[in-house]
Subunit: 195 residues, 2 copies
Amino acid sequence: MSPDIETLIQKISRLPGLGPRSARRIVIHMIKNREQIMEPMLMSLDNVLKNVKVCPLCSNIDTFSDVCSICSDLRRRRNLVCVVESVADLWALERTSCFSGLYHVLKGLLSSIDGRGPEFLMLENLQQRCKENSVEEMIIALSATVEGQTTLHYIKNFFKDQNIKITSLARGIPMGGELDYLDNGTLLAAFSARG
Amino acid sequence: MSPDIETLIQKISRLPGLGPRSARRIVIHMIKNREQIMEPMLMSLDNVLKNVKVCPLCSNIDTFSDVCSICSDLRRRRNLVCVVESVADLWALERTSCFSGLYHVLKGLLSSIDGRGPEFLMLENLQQRCKENSVEEMIIALSATVEGQTTLHYIKNFFKDQNIKITSLARGIPMGGELDYLDNGTLLAAFSARG
């Protein structure tokens, strides 16, 4: 195998969710479809590399000059902020179109195992923005995992004296969920929060 | 989401084995690791795009000037040819280092459903090479699927009057295979070909 192809397969196989076998399949597919797939892919990758930056306000990734398209959108409410773990979660919320405020993207959740301390949350930065925009509600939209909930409590505690209403995502039965198949924790949460 | 990122996600999600969710994960991972992953990936993709070609003799993909590194390797036996379905299969055989001859890579297997006729096998091309190299043995290394076996029989029939020994891969129990878990066809083949 040519070293160029080997290098490309190696690089692709290290992407999340892929391995050597899927990387080989992808590379062969791209080489076979040079004009339709490989060249556009190269251009697209180059565009993203050249144009995409991290927003200095909310840490969203986007193409922009000063701040990202969400932070610069004047129709969005400035006094509402939503804390998410990652840009993937920001995109997931944006797909639902349920939120019209601004975001604060963490660099990761608190995790003693992975050595992520409070500096990954950039809460001073968030506090500063809350003051400037007179934020009234902060929605902490984190995963219902141990790390997510630890981080939730840490942020709640950090902002406890700041006169900001702090909310988090509701717990309950997911759409289409059948009672018999739910875990105890979910069922308990759904039962306690009945209404 | 920025249109540049959206385009890239769309293109990646169309690669074999990937979907929108894994494509989003990959793009975020690349953007987060700009210097370590995204830039080297772009360079590597560009190298392959610039340098990799399809070998005019065996249809292998490689970096070369006239013919691929296998066809131009003088240590390989010219009177032995192995027919494979795709470059992935060629790579799989090369990893075992069991074969020291040249290859003939098909453009696909015969398939009436997918509309692939004998022109995908390029057998005139192969016949020409067999004459030039006075090929003594042709190993037809195709998958044990209906399409693979149909193609095997077609090729065997095509070369039946040419005084070339035509062989195909042995059938039997795969390494580590337990009798009780094998399908009937495999067990039957292993039993008939016992030795």
